[in-house]
Protein backbone atom coordinates (compact mmCIF):
# COMPACT_ATOMS: atom_id res chain seq x y z
CA UNK A 1 0.00 0.00 0.00
CA UNK A 2 1.26 3.47 -0.88
CA UNK A 3 0.96 6.96 0.56
CA UNK A 4 0.91 10.34 -1.15
CA UNK A 5 1.16 13.73 0.49
CA UNK A 6 -1.36 16.17 -0.91
CA UNK A 7 -1.27 19.89 -0.29
CA UNK A 8 -3.64 22.47 -1.74
CA UNK A 9 -1.21 25.21 -0.61
CA UNK A 10 -3.95 26.77 1.46
CA UNK A 11 -3.64 30.49 2.16
CA UNK A 12 -2.71 30.51 5.84
CA UNK A 13 -4.38 33.72 6.87
CA UNK A 14 -7.77 35.34 7.38
CA UNK A 15 -9.92 35.69 4.31
CA UNK A 16 -13.60 36.16 3.56
CA UNK A 17 -15.89 33.20 2.82
CA UNK A 18 -18.13 32.75 -0.22
CA UNK A 19 -16.98 32.22 -3.79
CA UNK A 20 -15.41 33.82 -5.70
CA UNK A 21 -13.37 35.45 -2.93
CA UNK A 22 -12.37 39.10 -3.43
CA UNK A 23 -8.66 39.86 -3.37
CA UNK A 24 -8.76 43.08 -1.35
CA UNK A 25 -7.61 41.39 1.89
CA UNK A 26 -4.90 39.37 0.16
CA UNK A 27 -1.42 39.57 1.68
CA UNK A 28 1.69 38.70 -0.32
CA UNK A 29 3.51 37.83 2.93
CA UNK A 30 0.85 35.31 3.91
CA UNK A 31 0.81 33.82 0.43
CA UNK A 32 4.60 33.58 0.38
CA UNK A 33 4.62 31.77 3.72
CA UNK A 34 1.80 29.47 2.56
CA UNK A 35 3.53 28.47 -0.66
CA UNK A 36 6.85 27.94 1.13
CA UNK A 37 5.10 25.73 3.71
CA UNK A 38 3.65 23.62 0.91
CA UNK A 39 7.00 23.29 -0.83
CA UNK A 40 8.77 22.40 2.45
CA UNK A 41 6.17 19.76 3.27
CA UNK A 42 6.48 18.19 -0.18
CA UNK A 43 10.27 18.08 0.17
CA UNK A 44 9.92 16.50 3.60
CA UNK A 45 7.47 13.91 2.31
CA UNK A 46 9.96 12.97 -0.41
CA UNK A 47 12.71 12.66 2.19
CA UNK A 48 10.77 10.43 4.60
CA UNK A 49 9.61 8.05 1.93
CA UNK A 50 6.14 9.04 0.71
CA UNK A 51 5.47 7.36 -2.64
CA UNK A 52 3.85 10.37 -4.27
CA UNK A 53 3.35 14.07 -3.74
CA UNK A 54 0.02 15.41 -5.00
CA UNK A 55 -1.16 18.77 -6.27
CA UNK A 56 -4.66 19.77 -7.37
CA UNK A 57 -6.58 22.56 -9.08
CA UNK A 58 -8.91 25.08 -7.41
CA UNK A 59 -9.57 28.66 -8.40
CA UNK A 60 -10.48 32.09 -7.05
CA UNK A 61 -10.24 31.30 -3.31
CA UNK A 62 -7.78 31.16 -0.40
CA UNK A 63 -8.59 27.46 -0.16
CA UNK A 64 -5.81 26.82 -2.66
CA UNK A 65 -2.98 28.88 -4.06
CA UNK A 66 -2.55 26.37 -6.92
CA UNK A 67 -5.13 27.24 -9.55
CA UNK A 68 -2.61 25.77 -11.97
CA UNK A 69 -1.20 22.52 -10.58
CA UNK A 70 1.13 22.24 -13.56
CA UNK A 71 3.06 25.27 -12.35
CA UNK A 72 3.54 23.87 -8.86
CA UNK A 73 4.34 20.43 -10.27
CA UNK A 74 6.98 22.08 -12.44
CA UNK A 75 8.59 23.56 -9.31
CA UNK A 76 8.39 20.17 -7.62
CA UNK A 77 10.33 18.46 -10.42
CA UNK A 78 13.38 20.23 -9.02
CA UNK A 79 12.59 19.65 -5.33
CA UNK A 80 11.12 16.13 -5.19
CA UNK A 81 13.73 13.75 -6.52
CA UNK A 82 12.32 10.31 -5.82
CA UNK A 83 8.56 10.37 -5.20
CA UNK A 84 6.14 10.49 -8.09
CA UNK A 85 4.48 13.81 -8.81
CA UNK A 86 0.74 13.37 -9.09
CA UNK A 87 -1.75 15.92 -10.35
CA UNK A 88 -5.13 14.97 -8.91
CA UNK A 89 -6.02 16.61 -11.01
CA UNK A 90 -6.07 18.82 -13.92
CA UNK A 91 -9.68 19.96 -14.56
CA UNK A 92 -9.71 19.07 -18.21
CA UNK A 93 -13.20 20.21 -19.31
CA UNK A 94 -12.28 23.82 -18.62
CA UNK A 95 -8.81 23.67 -20.18
CA UNK A 96 -7.14 23.31 -23.56
CA UNK A 97 -6.57 19.56 -23.96
CA UNK A 98 -3.56 19.96 -26.25
CA UNK A 99 -1.96 22.25 -23.68
CA UNK A 100 -2.70 19.71 -20.92
CA UNK A 101 -1.14 16.93 -23.01
CA UNK A 102 1.96 19.05 -23.57
CA UNK A 103 2.26 20.00 -19.91
CA UNK A 104 2.01 16.41 -18.67
CA UNK A 105 4.61 15.42 -21.26
CA UNK A 106 6.91 18.19 -20.04
CA UNK A 107 6.56 17.04 -16.45
CA UNK A 108 7.19 13.46 -17.44
CA UNK A 109 10.29 14.50 -19.40
CA UNK A 110 11.58 16.64 -16.53
CA UNK A 111 11.16 13.81 -13.98
CA UNK A 112 12.35 10.86 -16.02
CA UNK A 113 8.84 9.39 -16.06
CA UNK A 114 7.47 10.13 -12.57
CA UNK A 115 4.24 11.95 -13.38
CA UNK A 116 0.76 10.66 -12.50
CA UNK A 117 -1.90 12.18 -14.75
CA UNK A 118 -5.06 12.76 -12.80
CA UNK A 119 -7.82 14.26 -14.93
CA UNK A 120 -10.90 15.49 -13.22
CA UNK A 121 -14.19 17.17 -14.09
CA UNK A 122 -13.54 19.72 -11.37
CA UNK A 123 -15.80 20.95 -8.59
CA UNK A 124 -18.90 22.76 -9.78
CA UNK A 125 -17.53 26.27 -9.27
CA UNK A 126 -14.58 25.61 -11.56
CA UNK A 127 -16.89 25.95 -14.57
CA UNK A 128 -17.63 29.53 -13.64
CA UNK A 129 -13.87 30.19 -13.52
CA UNK A 130 -13.37 29.94 -17.27
CA UNK A 131 -16.98 30.49 -18.27
CA UNK A 132 -17.69 26.95 -19.39
CA UNK A 133 -21.23 25.50 -19.31
CA UNK A 134 -21.32 22.81 -16.57
CA UNK A 135 -24.05 20.95 -18.49
CA UNK A 136 -21.31 20.06 -21.00
CA UNK A 137 -18.98 18.74 -18.30
CA UNK A 138 -19.08 15.00 -19.02
CA UNK A 139 -19.14 15.35 -22.80
CA UNK A 140 -16.16 17.71 -22.70
CA UNK A 141 -14.34 15.43 -20.30
CA UNK A 142 -14.77 12.37 -22.53
CA UNK A 143 -13.60 14.18 -25.64
CA UNK A 144 -10.71 15.96 -23.91
CA UNK A 145 -9.44 12.70 -22.42
CA UNK A 146 -9.54 10.95 -25.80
CA UNK A 147 -7.73 13.88 -27.43
CA UNK A 148 -5.05 14.00 -24.73
CA UNK A 149 -4.36 10.26 -25.05
CA UNK A 150 -4.15 10.63 -28.84
CA UNK A 151 -1.75 13.59 -28.54
CA UNK A 152 0.45 11.48 -26.28
CA UNK A 153 0.50 8.40 -28.51
CA UNK A 154 0.06 9.47 -32.16
CA UNK A 155 3.49 10.16 -33.59
CA UNK A 156 2.39 11.79 -36.86
CA UNK A 157 0.84 15.29 -36.88
CA UNK A 158 -2.93 14.79 -36.83
CA UNK A 159 -6.10 16.84 -36.93
CA UNK A 160 -8.98 16.51 -34.51
CA UNK A 161 -12.55 17.26 -35.57
CA UNK A 162 -14.44 17.01 -32.32
CA UNK A 163 -17.63 18.45 -30.87
CA UNK A 164 -15.95 20.74 -28.36
CA UNK A 165 -12.37 20.76 -29.59
CA UNK A 166 -11.02 21.30 -33.08
CA UNK A 167 -7.42 21.34 -34.19
CA UNK A 168 -5.89 21.08 -37.63
CA UNK A 169 -2.46 19.71 -36.78
CA UNK A 170 -1.12 18.42 -33.43
CA UNK A 171 2.32 17.02 -32.76
CA UNK A 172 3.50 17.52 -29.20
CA UNK A 173 7.14 17.95 -28.16
CA UNK A 174 8.33 16.80 -25.66
CA UNK A 175 6.62 13.43 -25.60
CA UNK A 176 5.88 11.34 -22.49
CA UNK A 177 8.60 9.13 -21.08
CA UNK A 178 6.18 6.53 -19.67
CA UNK A 179 4.76 4.21 -22.31
CA UNK A 180 2.23 4.13 -23.69
CA UNK A 181 1.59 7.21 -21.50
CA UNK A 182 1.52 8.31 -17.84
CA UNK A 183 -1.04 6.49 -15.67
CA UNK A 184 -4.44 8.18 -15.71
CA UNK A 185 -6.82 8.59 -12.80
CA UNK A 186 -10.16 10.32 -12.62
CA UNK A 187 -12.47 11.16 -9.74
CA UNK A 188 -14.84 8.33 -9.13
CA UNK A 189 -17.68 9.02 -6.79
CA UNK A 190 -20.63 9.12 -9.22
CA UNK A 191 -22.03 6.04 -11.02
CA UNK A 192 -21.30 7.75 -14.34
CA UNK A 193 -17.63 8.07 -13.36
CA UNK A 194 -17.47 4.41 -12.30
CA UNK A 195 -18.84 3.35 -15.70
CA UNK A 196 -16.58 5.66 -17.65
CA UNK A 197 -13.43 4.69 -15.73
CA UNK A 198 -14.24 1.00 -16.12
CA UNK A 199 -14.90 1.29 -19.87
CA UNK A 200 -11.79 3.40 -20.45
CA UNK A 201 -9.53 1.42 -18.10
CA UNK A 202 -8.41 4.36 -16.01
CA UNK A 203 -7.91 4.49 -12.26
CA UNK A 204 -10.33 6.07 -9.83
CA UNK A 205 -9.79 8.47 -6.95
CA UNK A 206 -12.27 9.10 -4.16
CA UNK A 207 -12.17 12.47 -2.43
CA UNK A 208 -14.56 14.64 -0.44
CA UNK A 209 -16.47 11.52 0.52
CA UNK A 210 -16.79 8.99 3.32
CA UNK A 211 -15.45 5.46 3.52
CA UNK A 212 -18.90 3.85 3.19
CA UNK A 213 -19.71 5.96 0.10
CA UNK A 214 -16.30 5.25 -1.42
CA UNK A 215 -16.75 1.51 -0.86
CA UNK A 216 -20.08 1.61 -2.67
CA UNK A 217 -18.58 3.53 -5.61
CA UNK A 218 -15.54 1.20 -5.75
CA UNK A 219 -17.77 -1.87 -5.82
CA UNK A 220 -19.69 -0.42 -8.75
CA UNK A 221 -16.43 0.38 -10.58
CA UNK A 222 -15.21 -3.20 -10.12
CA UNK A 223 -18.53 -4.56 -11.35
CA UNK A 224 -18.42 -2.34 -14.44
CA UNK A 225 -14.78 -3.25 -15.07
CA UNK A 226 -15.69 -6.95 -14.99
CA UNK A 227 -18.30 -6.25 -17.68
CA UNK A 228 -15.59 -4.51 -19.70
CA UNK A 229 -13.29 -7.52 -19.29
CA UNK A 230 -10.69 -6.44 -16.74
CA UNK A 231 -10.04 -6.36 -13.01
CA UNK A 232 -8.83 -3.19 -11.24
CA UNK A 233 -6.03 -3.77 -8.75
CA UNK A 234 -5.33 -1.81 -5.53
CA UNK A 235 -3.13 0.65 -7.45
CA UNK A 236 -6.15 1.62 -9.55
CA UNK A 237 -7.88 3.11 -6.51
CA UNK A 238 -6.87 6.24 -4.60
CA UNK A 239 -8.57 7.34 -1.38
CA UNK A 240 -8.04 10.90 -0.25
CA UNK A 241 -8.37 11.84 3.39
CA UNK A 242 -6.90 14.04 6.12
CA UNK A 243 -4.26 12.90 8.59
CA UNK A 244 -2.49 13.96 11.73
CA UNK A 245 -0.05 11.77 13.61
CA UNK A 246 1.51 12.47 17.01
CA UNK A 247 3.35 10.42 19.63
CA UNK A 248 0.06 9.57 21.38
CA UNK A 249 -3.62 9.41 20.45
CA UNK A 250 -4.43 12.08 23.02
CA UNK A 251 -1.85 14.52 21.64
CA UNK A 252 -3.04 13.92 18.08
CA UNK A 253 -6.68 14.54 18.97
CA UNK A 254 -5.81 17.63 20.98
CA UNK A 255 -3.84 18.99 18.00
CA UNK A 256 -6.76 18.29 15.71
CA UNK A 257 -9.23 20.06 17.93
CA UNK A 258 -6.89 23.03 18.34
CA UNK A 259 -6.21 23.27 14.64
CA UNK A 260 -9.83 23.06 13.52
CA UNK A 261 -11.35 25.29 16.23
CA UNK A 262 -13.38 28.10 14.75
CA UNK A 263 -13.14 26.74 11.21
CA UNK A 264 -16.36 26.61 9.29
CA UNK A 265 -16.12 23.36 7.34
CA UNK A 266 -17.76 24.56 4.13
CA UNK A 267 -16.29 23.54 0.80
CA UNK A 268 -15.85 25.77 -2.22
CA UNK A 269 -19.05 24.86 -4.03
CA UNK A 270 -21.32 25.25 -1.04
CA UNK A 271 -19.80 28.68 -0.39
CA UNK A 272 -22.04 29.99 -3.13
CA UNK A 273 -25.52 28.51 -2.85
CA UNK A 274 -26.86 30.10 -6.04
CA UNK A 275 -23.94 28.66 -7.97
CA UNK A 276 -24.45 25.22 -6.48
CA UNK A 277 -28.17 25.22 -7.28
CA UNK A 278 -27.64 26.45 -10.85
CA UNK A 279 -24.96 23.85 -11.51
CA UNK A 280 -27.17 21.14 -10.03
CA UNK A 281 -30.01 22.20 -12.37
CA UNK A 282 -27.58 21.86 -15.29
CA UNK A 283 -27.35 18.15 -14.51
CA UNK A 284 -23.77 18.37 -13.28
CA UNK A 285 -24.24 15.83 -10.50
CA UNK A 286 -25.58 13.08 -12.74
CA UNK A 287 -28.34 10.59 -12.15
CA UNK A 288 -27.43 9.97 -8.50
CA UNK A 289 -27.58 13.72 -7.82
CA UNK A 290 -28.84 13.64 -4.23
CA UNK A 291 -26.00 11.39 -3.08
CA UNK A 292 -23.39 13.39 -5.02
CA UNK A 293 -24.58 16.70 -3.58
CA UNK A 294 -24.70 15.09 -0.14
CA UNK A 295 -21.00 14.19 -0.33
CA UNK A 296 -20.23 17.90 -0.20
CA UNK A 297 -22.05 18.39 3.13
CA UNK A 298 -19.75 19.33 6.01
CA UNK A 299 -19.36 17.05 9.05
CA UNK A 300 -18.14 17.72 12.57
CA UNK A 301 -14.75 16.43 13.72
CA UNK A 302 -15.95 13.28 15.49
CA UNK A 303 -18.12 12.37 12.50
CA UNK A 304 -15.22 12.86 10.13
CA UNK A 305 -13.11 10.36 12.05
CA UNK A 306 -15.92 7.82 12.18
CA UNK A 307 -16.68 8.22 8.49
CA UNK A 308 -13.06 7.55 7.52
CA UNK A 309 -12.35 11.10 6.42
CA UNK A 310 -9.35 11.55 8.74
CA UNK A 311 -6.57 9.37 10.07
CA UNK A 312 -5.72 10.61 13.56
CA UNK A 313 -3.69 9.21 16.43
CA UNK A 314 -0.37 7.62 17.25
CA UNK A 315 1.42 5.69 14.49
CA UNK A 316 -0.04 2.39 15.79
CA UNK A 317 -3.58 3.74 15.84
CA UNK A 318 -3.22 5.29 12.41
CA UNK A 319 -1.86 2.04 11.01
CA UNK A 320 -5.00 0.27 12.31
CA UNK A 321 -7.17 2.88 10.58
CA UNK A 322 -5.16 2.41 7.38
CA UNK A 323 -5.61 -1.35 7.56
CA UNK A 324 -9.35 -0.86 8.00
CA UNK A 325 -9.48 1.25 4.82
CA UNK A 326 -7.47 -1.36 2.97
CA UNK A 327 -9.80 -4.14 4.11
CA UNK A 328 -13.02 -2.29 3.34
CA UNK A 329 -12.12 -0.35 0.21
CA UNK A 330 -9.13 -2.13 -1.28
CA UNK A 331 -7.47 1.19 -2.10
CA UNK A 332 -3.77 0.88 -2.91
CA UNK A 333 -2.96 4.56 -2.53
CA UNK A 334 -3.91 6.91 0.31
CA UNK A 335 -3.72 10.54 -0.73
CA UNK A 336 -3.10 12.33 2.56
CA UNK A 337 -3.73 15.97 3.30
CA UNK A 338 -2.50 17.48 6.56
CA UNK A 339 -5.64 17.87 8.66
CA UNK A 340 -4.19 20.83 10.55
CA UNK A 341 -1.35 23.27 9.94
CA UNK A 342 0.40 23.69 13.30
CA UNK A 343 3.96 24.40 12.23
CA UNK A 344 6.40 22.06 13.98
CA UNK A 345 3.64 19.61 14.97
CA UNK A 346 2.58 19.20 11.35
CA UNK A 347 6.18 18.74 10.32
CA UNK A 348 6.46 16.04 13.02
CA UNK A 349 3.23 14.41 11.80
CA UNK A 350 4.66 14.00 8.32
CA UNK A 351 7.92 12.62 9.74
CA UNK A 352 6.13 10.15 12.00
CA UNK A 353 3.91 8.94 9.17
CA UNK A 354 6.93 8.39 6.96
CA UNK A 355 9.08 6.67 9.54
CA UNK A 356 6.57 4.71 11.63
CA UNK A 357 3.48 4.09 9.48
CA UNK A 358 4.69 3.85 5.89
CA UNK A 359 7.12 0.95 6.29
CA UNK A 360 4.27 -1.13 7.82
CA UNK A 361 1.86 0.01 5.08
CA UNK A 362 4.13 -1.55 2.46
CA UNK A 363 3.23 -4.96 3.86
CA UNK A 364 -0.50 -4.40 3.35
Amino acid sequence: MKAALFSAARYMGPAPTGWPVPGDSYSTEVADRSLKTALDQFALADEVGFDWVTVAEHHFAPFSLTPNPMVLAGALTQVVKRAKIALLGSDIPILNPVRVAEEFAMLDAMTGGRVVAGMLRGTANEYVTYNINPAESRARFAEALHLIKTAWTEKQPFGWQGRYYQYRTISIWPRPVQLPHPPIYMSGSSPEAGEFAAQNRVGLGFAVTTLPQACKAAAYYREQAALAGWEPGPDDIIYRLGFHVAETDEAALADLEEGTRGQRPVGLTLSNKALEAEVADAGYFGRDAAAQRNRLMPHGLKERIELGQILVGSPQTVLRQVRNIRDQLGAGILDLICAVQLGARTHRSIELFGSAVLPRMREL
Binding site: Q156, F158, W160, Q161, R163
Partner: protein
Protein backbone atom coordinates in the same frame (compact mmCIF):
# COMPACT_ATOMS: atom_id res chain seq x y z
CA UNK B 1 -34.82 8.06 -52.63
CA UNK B 2 -33.46 11.14 -54.38
CA UNK B 3 -31.16 13.19 -52.15
CA UNK B 4 -32.36 16.73 -51.51
CA UNK B 5 -31.32 19.11 -54.26
CA UNK B 6 -29.51 16.56 -56.45
CA UNK B 7 -30.50 16.32 -60.14
CA UNK B 8 -30.15 12.82 -61.51
CA UNK B 9 -29.28 11.81 -65.08
CA UNK B 10 -27.26 9.28 -67.06
CA UNK B 11 -23.84 10.08 -68.55
CA UNK B 12 -22.26 8.26 -71.49
CA UNK B 13 -18.66 7.34 -70.73
CA UNK B 14 -16.30 4.82 -72.34
CA UNK B 15 -19.17 2.79 -73.75
CA UNK B 16 -21.17 2.68 -70.51
CA UNK B 17 -24.08 4.68 -69.08
CA UNK B 18 -23.30 5.91 -65.59
CA UNK B 19 -25.74 7.34 -63.08
CA UNK B 20 -24.80 10.91 -62.25
CA UNK B 21 -26.30 13.03 -59.43
CA UNK B 22 -25.32 16.67 -59.27
CA UNK B 23 -25.94 19.70 -57.05
CA UNK B 24 -24.38 23.05 -56.26
CA UNK B 25 -22.04 25.31 -58.17
CA UNK B 26 -18.40 26.34 -58.04
CA UNK B 27 -15.30 24.21 -57.54
CA UNK B 28 -15.94 20.70 -58.96
CA UNK B 29 -15.90 17.81 -56.51
CA UNK B 30 -16.32 14.32 -57.90
CA UNK B 31 -17.85 11.93 -55.38
CA UNK B 32 -17.22 8.27 -56.17
CA UNK B 33 -20.73 6.83 -55.98
CA UNK B 34 -23.08 5.30 -55.26
CA UNK B 35 -22.42 6.75 -51.82
CA UNK B 36 -24.28 10.04 -51.31
CA UNK B 37 -24.85 11.33 -47.79
CA UNK B 38 -25.72 14.53 -45.96
CA UNK B 39 -22.06 15.45 -46.40
CA UNK B 40 -22.52 15.76 -50.15
CA UNK B 41 -25.63 17.93 -49.62
CA UNK B 42 -23.70 20.25 -47.32
CA UNK B 43 -20.73 20.48 -49.69
CA UNK B 44 -23.12 21.47 -52.48
CA UNK B 45 -23.53 24.72 -50.57
CA UNK B 46 -20.05 25.79 -51.68
CA UNK B 47 -19.04 23.38 -54.46
CA UNK B 48 -20.37 21.73 -57.59
CA UNK B 49 -20.78 18.19 -56.26
CA UNK B 50 -21.03 15.45 -58.91
CA UNK B 51 -21.65 11.92 -57.61
CA UNK B 52 -20.83 9.34 -60.26
CA UNK B 53 -21.58 5.61 -59.94
CA UNK B 54 -18.44 4.10 -61.49
CA UNK B 55 -17.89 0.44 -62.40
CA UNK B 56 -15.21 -0.66 -59.90
CA UNK B 57 -13.08 -2.54 -62.45
CA UNK B 58 -12.66 0.34 -64.90
CA UNK B 59 -13.09 3.27 -62.54
CA UNK B 60 -10.22 5.56 -63.63
CA UNK B 61 -10.94 5.27 -67.36
CA UNK B 62 -14.70 5.67 -66.86
CA UNK B 63 -14.19 8.64 -64.58
CA UNK B 64 -11.88 10.36 -67.09
CA UNK B 65 -14.40 9.83 -69.89
CA UNK B 66 -17.31 11.01 -67.71
CA UNK B 67 -15.48 14.15 -66.68
CA UNK B 68 -14.78 14.98 -70.32
CA UNK B 69 -18.49 14.41 -71.07
CA UNK B 70 -19.43 16.71 -68.17
CA UNK B 71 -16.97 19.37 -69.33
CA UNK B 72 -14.92 19.19 -66.15
CA UNK B 73 -11.15 19.64 -66.69
CA UNK B 74 -10.02 19.54 -63.09
CA UNK B 75 -11.76 18.39 -59.93
CA UNK B 76 -11.22 17.16 -56.42
CA UNK B 77 -12.13 13.57 -55.56
CA UNK B 78 -14.20 12.49 -52.58
CA UNK B 79 -14.40 8.78 -51.77
CA UNK B 80 -15.32 6.52 -48.85
CA UNK B 81 -14.06 3.11 -47.73
CA UNK B 82 -13.08 0.74 -50.54
CA UNK B 83 -13.80 3.39 -53.17
CA UNK B 84 -10.79 5.38 -51.92
CA UNK B 85 -8.60 2.94 -53.88
CA UNK B 86 -10.22 4.02 -57.16
CA UNK B 87 -9.64 7.65 -56.18
CA UNK B 88 -5.94 6.94 -55.64
CA UNK B 89 -5.68 5.01 -58.91
CA UNK B 90 -7.29 7.90 -60.79
CA UNK B 91 -4.92 10.40 -59.17
CA UNK B 92 -1.93 8.29 -60.21
CA UNK B 93 -3.15 7.95 -63.80
CA UNK B 94 -4.49 11.48 -64.30
CA UNK B 95 -2.49 13.80 -62.04
CA UNK B 96 -3.24 16.80 -64.27
CA UNK B 97 -6.98 16.43 -63.61
CA UNK B 98 -6.75 16.36 -59.82
CA UNK B 99 -6.91 19.34 -57.47
CA UNK B 100 -7.15 17.43 -54.19
CA UNK B 101 -8.24 14.11 -52.69
CA UNK B 102 -10.48 13.53 -49.69
CA UNK B 103 -10.47 9.95 -48.43
CA UNK B 104 -13.08 8.95 -45.84
CA UNK B 105 -12.51 5.84 -43.71
CA UNK B 106 -9.98 4.21 -46.05
CA UNK B 107 -9.23 0.57 -45.18
CA UNK B 108 -5.65 -0.35 -44.19
CA UNK B 109 -3.45 -1.41 -47.11
CA UNK B 110 -3.29 -5.17 -47.53
CA UNK B 111 0.46 -5.80 -47.56
CA UNK B 112 0.12 -8.82 -49.85
CA UNK B 113 -2.36 -7.65 -52.44
CA UNK B 114 -1.80 -3.90 -52.49
CA UNK B 115 1.94 -3.52 -52.23
CA UNK B 116 2.13 -1.91 -55.66
CA UNK B 117 -0.45 0.81 -54.95
CA UNK B 118 1.00 1.51 -51.50
CA UNK B 119 4.49 1.86 -53.01
CA UNK B 120 3.30 4.53 -55.47
CA UNK B 121 1.53 6.75 -52.97
CA UNK B 122 4.50 9.09 -52.77
CA UNK B 123 3.99 10.00 -56.44
CA UNK B 124 0.70 11.73 -55.70
CA UNK B 125 1.68 15.38 -55.36
CA UNK B 126 -1.87 16.64 -54.92
CA UNK B 127 -3.05 17.63 -51.45
CA UNK B 128 -4.68 14.66 -49.74
CA UNK B 129 -6.84 14.60 -46.61
CA UNK B 130 -7.68 11.27 -44.97
CA UNK B 131 -10.36 11.12 -42.27
CA UNK B 132 -11.51 8.32 -39.98
CA UNK B 133 -13.87 8.05 -37.04
CA UNK B 134 -12.43 7.41 -33.58
CA UNK B 135 -14.84 4.47 -33.21
CA UNK B 136 -14.16 2.81 -36.59
CA UNK B 137 -12.22 -0.45 -36.29
CA UNK B 138 -12.30 -0.76 -40.12
CA UNK B 139 -10.17 2.37 -40.48
CA UNK B 140 -7.73 2.46 -37.56
CA UNK B 141 -5.10 5.21 -37.08
CA UNK B 142 -2.54 3.28 -39.17
CA UNK B 143 -4.93 3.35 -42.13
CA UNK B 144 -5.01 7.15 -42.30
CA UNK B 145 -1.58 7.90 -40.87
CA UNK B 146 0.00 6.31 -43.95
CA UNK B 147 -1.16 9.21 -46.15
CA UNK B 148 0.83 11.68 -44.06
CA UNK B 149 3.84 9.39 -43.95
CA UNK B 150 3.92 8.42 -47.63
CA UNK B 151 2.80 11.55 -49.46
CA UNK B 152 4.46 14.93 -49.93
CA UNK B 153 1.19 16.79 -49.17
CA UNK B 154 -0.80 14.26 -47.16
CA UNK B 155 -2.82 15.10 -44.01
CA UNK B 156 -5.07 13.13 -41.72
CA UNK B 157 -7.57 13.85 -38.99
CA UNK B 158 -9.70 11.92 -36.53
CA UNK B 159 -13.42 12.63 -36.52
CA UNK B 160 -14.39 12.21 -32.88
CA UNK B 161 -17.23 9.93 -31.85
CA UNK B 162 -18.04 8.46 -35.24
CA UNK B 163 -17.75 4.95 -36.63
CA UNK B 164 -17.45 3.88 -40.28
CA UNK B 165 -20.26 6.08 -41.64
CA UNK B 166 -18.62 9.26 -40.37
CA UNK B 167 -20.00 11.48 -43.16
CA UNK B 168 -23.55 10.37 -42.28
CA UNK B 169 -23.05 10.35 -38.48
CA UNK B 170 -21.50 13.81 -38.05
CA UNK B 171 -21.96 15.43 -41.47
CA UNK B 172 -21.56 19.04 -40.28
CA UNK B 173 -18.22 18.32 -38.60
CA UNK B 174 -16.91 16.49 -41.66
CA UNK B 175 -18.29 19.09 -44.09
CA UNK B 176 -16.68 22.01 -42.27
CA UNK B 177 -13.26 20.37 -42.45
CA UNK B 178 -13.61 19.01 -45.99
CA UNK B 179 -14.99 22.25 -47.46
CA UNK B 180 -12.11 24.21 -45.98
CA UNK B 181 -9.55 21.68 -47.23
CA UNK B 182 -11.03 21.68 -50.73
CA UNK B 183 -10.73 25.45 -50.85
CA UNK B 184 -7.40 26.06 -49.15
CA UNK B 185 -5.53 22.73 -49.37
CA UNK B 186 -2.52 22.61 -47.02
CA UNK B 187 -3.24 26.17 -45.87
CA UNK B 188 -6.24 24.78 -44.06
CA UNK B 189 -4.05 24.33 -40.99
CA UNK B 190 -4.33 28.07 -40.37
CA UNK B 191 -7.54 29.16 -38.69
CA UNK B 192 -9.16 31.88 -40.75
CA UNK B 193 -12.47 32.11 -38.89
CA UNK B 194 -13.34 35.07 -36.75
CA UNK B 195 -12.80 34.54 -33.03
CA UNK B 196 -14.79 37.65 -32.08
CA UNK B 197 -17.65 36.78 -29.73
CA UNK B 198 -19.43 40.13 -29.97
CA UNK B 199 -18.46 43.30 -31.80
Amino acid sequence: MPQAGFRERMVEAAGARLRCREAGAGRAVLGLGPRLTRLHELLAGSCRVVVLDLPPAAAPASAAAALAELGIERCSLLAHGAATRAALAFALQHPEAIEALVLLAPPPFDAAGEAELAAHLGEIAAPVLALAGTRDPASPPAAIRVYREAMPNGHFAFVYDTAHELDAERPEAVAALVADFLERHERFIVNHESGILHP
